[in-house]
Symmetry: C2
Subunit: 379 residues, 2 copies
């Protein structure tokens, strides 16, 4: 029940199960291939060149990022086709141009005429036509324009006529993270597709180009059955998966490739709790399962080999303390976990938990010694 | 209304107001001096050698840390008296000994006979008497032994007779973070003191030494009036303060020295919301004010100079998107914040927000150019 390879690691630290990761990558790649739509993996979860090399069929892209720091690291590693998935800030255009000068085709996102004019002006001034996608909103999640908003045409004209490259439209059905089960997720997938196709049709009807029609979130990408009119599919957290995704049935708990290794440091028998050396600094403050049917606290506890211990969760965290106890209402009995026992905690939200660490300790799919893959952060 | 020094910074980034920080440091230092009890500042919030130099009256200590990584960095910077405030893991004793060998007196924390025996054995084997404090629990917060638990004597005997150094007792009234107002906090401070004194008396009555009686949390440290029997006072987040501390009246909002600089990247007028480029990656997922009388969302929004904008908070976050809107039920009107506007967001929890960044951009108290102070993380 112990893994001698883990015994050498200082706790807390981040463990990546390469076999599970590979299975997750292959599952969505096969689904996208069946649909006939190229996949643009989002690298914001991984923030790792080693993971990127395994996710991207061709090491040069396409890829998606959430910060210019990611774009810069991945461009330096040879990725040449990147979409930056946050509405472009007016203060970031010089770095966008620098990426183009370095040979990376970086596409930006806009949902306002102010941004479009700034992108067009920067393009004209630099003599580099920055590719820009217009963000479409299908579910009121955060940013983007409704598919029938006349601003879409106005923005398209500013980009197309102003020296930038009108690359097309993009939509992210972020509300699908709250949709439980394939049927509910399929509705979000279809809403995402329909919103995009409507916006693309409106652009084309106004004589504007719209080569890219980009859809996706991890839930909608996995259930999509008909992507007529969509030219690329995006997803990110699927590479590792997490308890939030398991809680809405996008994956099984056994698909989760990421965990935090921790050590038991104390017991509070009167309160039925165990202390471990992984607090929110190692697990993150993310409580994404709090609103789900099964609240996993700050994470589901597994033994050292990664097998879940029934009903045992992290109920409370301080900065460097985790409190482990049985789920409220559980009929299970508390296992004997002496001081010094190593445990692994599955994360609520892989993006947030991974962000608390500077490297992955990788359990190779083929066995053998652990590998260490660096992660990066920043903006 | 703009600060030209901030215009050069890429957003999001972390801003530290040195003048406010100095005022916070001086306030608690003066209070501790009046009480006649030395202060042992907790450096886990700051994780910065530059901040440590300003917090510690004498650059060599005493100090408190939450990880051995902090102890190692601060020891290398000349701090010679450090208490590691998380129950010692059996896998960490070799690093503890290495710190002693490097000239740093590192004190560890135990609340079990298993840990005590391991500390004693490591001390004997290395010929270095590791100083250890017994953790006392006054409020059921997380770890530690009840002050009348006979285990305290047993642990004291194992340490004292086994080659380690029985340094004394320590208590942290963590539940005081939920106590609103000075009167409620004073009850926690007195409970913390009484628990410690009872445990210290029990050790001494059994012929065991108890030179150190260490009390503190930021709320209890600020309200303590009588610390009879206590030999040192600890606090950490007071150096920066945050909205959680303001929400329980330990500080004013104007005392908060830390903020995240962000830029407006979009508007959703139909939903009354504004998008900024600070999501949970820059702000953290901490929702510490959620259970308080005033829920500050993911943070209170200020203009670029740090002045709060009435009722404007971060209502929602994605990884790199923040959604700003008026507090639910607010009668205030939405200010005009064009795309490109810079804002500053006060954190719920300074420890968690600071942990998302690798440096502080410091507004010097005396004016003049910004300074950049590095932060570190890890374990």
């Amino acid at each position: 029940m112990t893994d001698v390879r883990l015994a050498q690691l200082m706790t807390p630290c981040l463990i990546l199960d390469e076999g599970r990761m590979t299975r997750n990558i292959e599952r969505l790649a096969a689904h996208a291939a069946r649909l006939g739509v190229p996949l643009r993996p989002h690298l914001k979860t991984a923030k790792s060149v080693d993971v990127a090399r395994r996710v991207l069929a061709d090491g040069t892209g396409p890829a998606m990022v959430s910060t210019l720091a990611e774009a810069e690291v991945f461009a330096a590693a040879g990725i040449r086709d990147i979409t930056y998935g946050v509405g472009i800030g007016l203060n970031k255009l010089e770095r966008v141009l620098d990426l183009h000068r370095a040979g990376c085709r970086l596409t930006v996102l806009v949902d306002s005429d102010v941004q479009a004019r700034a992108v067009a002006a920067a393009s004209t001034d630099a003599g580099i036509a920055i590719p820009a996608l217009i963000e479409i909103d299908s579910d009121g999640h955060r940013s983007g324009l409704a598919p029938d908003d006349p601003e879409i045409i106005k923005i398209g004209e500013i980009l197309h006529g102003g020296g930038a490259e009108l690359a097309g439209v993009l939509c992210h059905a972020g509300q699908s993270y709250g949709a439980v089960g394939r049927a509910a997720q399929a509705e979000f997938a279809e809403a995402e597709r329909a919103a995009l196709v409507a916006a693309a049709d409106a652009l084309r009807a106004n004589g504007l180009p719209c080569p890219v029609v980009s859809a996706g979130s991890t839930p909608t990408a996995h259930v999509a059955k008909d992507l007529t009119g969509v030219t690329e599919l995006r997803a990110g957290v699927y590479v590792f998966f997490d308890l939030v995704m398991a809680g809405i049935d996008v994956c099984a708990v056994d698909d989760i490739a990421l965990s935090v290794l921790t050590t038991v440091i104390g017991h509070q028998p009167a309160r039925g709790s165990i202390m471990v050396d992984a607090g929110w600094m190692a697990l993150s403050r993310d409580r994404g399962t709090a609103a789900q049917e099964v609240d996993q606290g700050y994470g589901l506890v597994c033994d050292e080999t990664g097998r879940p211990i029934p009903d045992l969760i992290v109920t409370q965290t301080s900065q460097e303390h985790g409190t482990i106890a049985l789920r409220p209402g559980s009929g299970a009995s508390m296992p004997d976990l002496p001081i010094g026992t190593r445990l692994r905690i599955l994360p609520n939200h892989a993006c947030a938990t991974a962000a608390q660490h500077t490297s992955y300790h990788v359990l190779p799919a083929e066995g053998g010694p652990l590998m260490e893959w660096p992660r990066f952060g920043g903006w």
